[in-house]
Amino acid sequence: MSKVIVVTSGKGGVGKTTTSASFSSGLALRGNKTVVIDFDVGLRNLDLIMGCERRVVYDIINVINGEVTLKQALIKDKNCDNLYILPASQTRDKDALNLEGVERILNELKESFDCIVCDSPAGIESGAFTAMYFADEALVVTNPEVSSVRDSDRILGILAAKSKRAVDGLDPVKEHLLITRYDPKRVEAGEMLSVTDIQEILRIPLIGVIPESESVLQASNAGTPAIHLDKSDVAEAYRDVVGRFMGDERLPMRFVTVEKKSFLKRLLGGR
């Protein structure tokens, strides 16, 4: 059974595309045949984060309009064998993305892929709605910050009331909380909402915590999803997220407390 997973948040700039890129790469590395779809029509960016921007020829709107086949529009990822990217259109407007067309594409993708990751645009307009409508599971990306938490709550309300699963009366969309840009130091100082605070407020299961890190910018500069970075806690944290998603619930939650530097490390000036 293939799964449709939406990466959503409501608020912009919290790490949806970063997460979509690393999460889909991680699923593929674990042997799942995976496709990641950019739903941000008019403002596509997943291609840049995945480093395939110069190989984009056709996009999702071309497929919906029947101008090209899915096979022609899918771009094979440069890092993972099992991963394909379906870019958004940069020139069309968001109304070209209709529910019927998207459903047709998803059904066709389900025939050959295990995981279909939908990278949602920010907001709660039609693009974001279309991205989440067909979801079986949802990664709700949240920053430890009041406006992001409030928007996530709004998104959870929409998933529970207006997704296809809700409308058809099926089991509800399985929701996962993913906290990004987390800074344990500031949490300890009482300057930032803690993991527990956010969980208490949003009341959905936690799938992972991604620490605030300079390496996310480095990854996007290079067009390599952060999960591929060497010796980066962001990469480790994303691998843990994928592990938990695949059912390994015993994985301990890392990067949530301030790491005490060892004496030797301090002596050597290691970071």
Binding site: E145, V146, V149, R150, R154, G190, M192, L193
Partner: protein, 92 residues
């Protein structure tokens, strides 16, 4: 550093993370309530018509009738609250 020391000695300043959590809990409780039980658009009309019927028999003013829809778990409860005037006016 001195400012930090002073605020430490005072010890009564609320950490901003706690303020953030409290504010979120209040606003989200409010927004969730609105989301789960949006006021149906027939309520004002219903209130108006009830007013007319009741006014035929009892002398009441607009403020003494109140119609509300509340959510109690699985059930929606339509609450109708009419404050009757005191006996003297009723017998008149």
């Amino acid at each position: 550093m001195i400012a930090g020391l002073i605020s430490y000695l005072r010890g009564n300043e609320k950490k901003t993370a706690i303020v953030a959590k409290e504010r979120l809990q209040i606003i989200l409780a409010h927004e969730r309530a609105g989301r789960n039980a949006p006021t149906p658009d027939y309520l004002p009309a219903l209130q108006e018509e009830l007013m007319v019927v009741i006014a035929k028999y009892i002398h009441i003013d607009r403020e003494s009738i109140n119609v509300q829809l509340e959510k109690h778990g699985e059930y929606d409860v339509l609450e109708l609250n009419i404050t009757l005037p005191d006996k003297m006016r009723l017998n008149r």
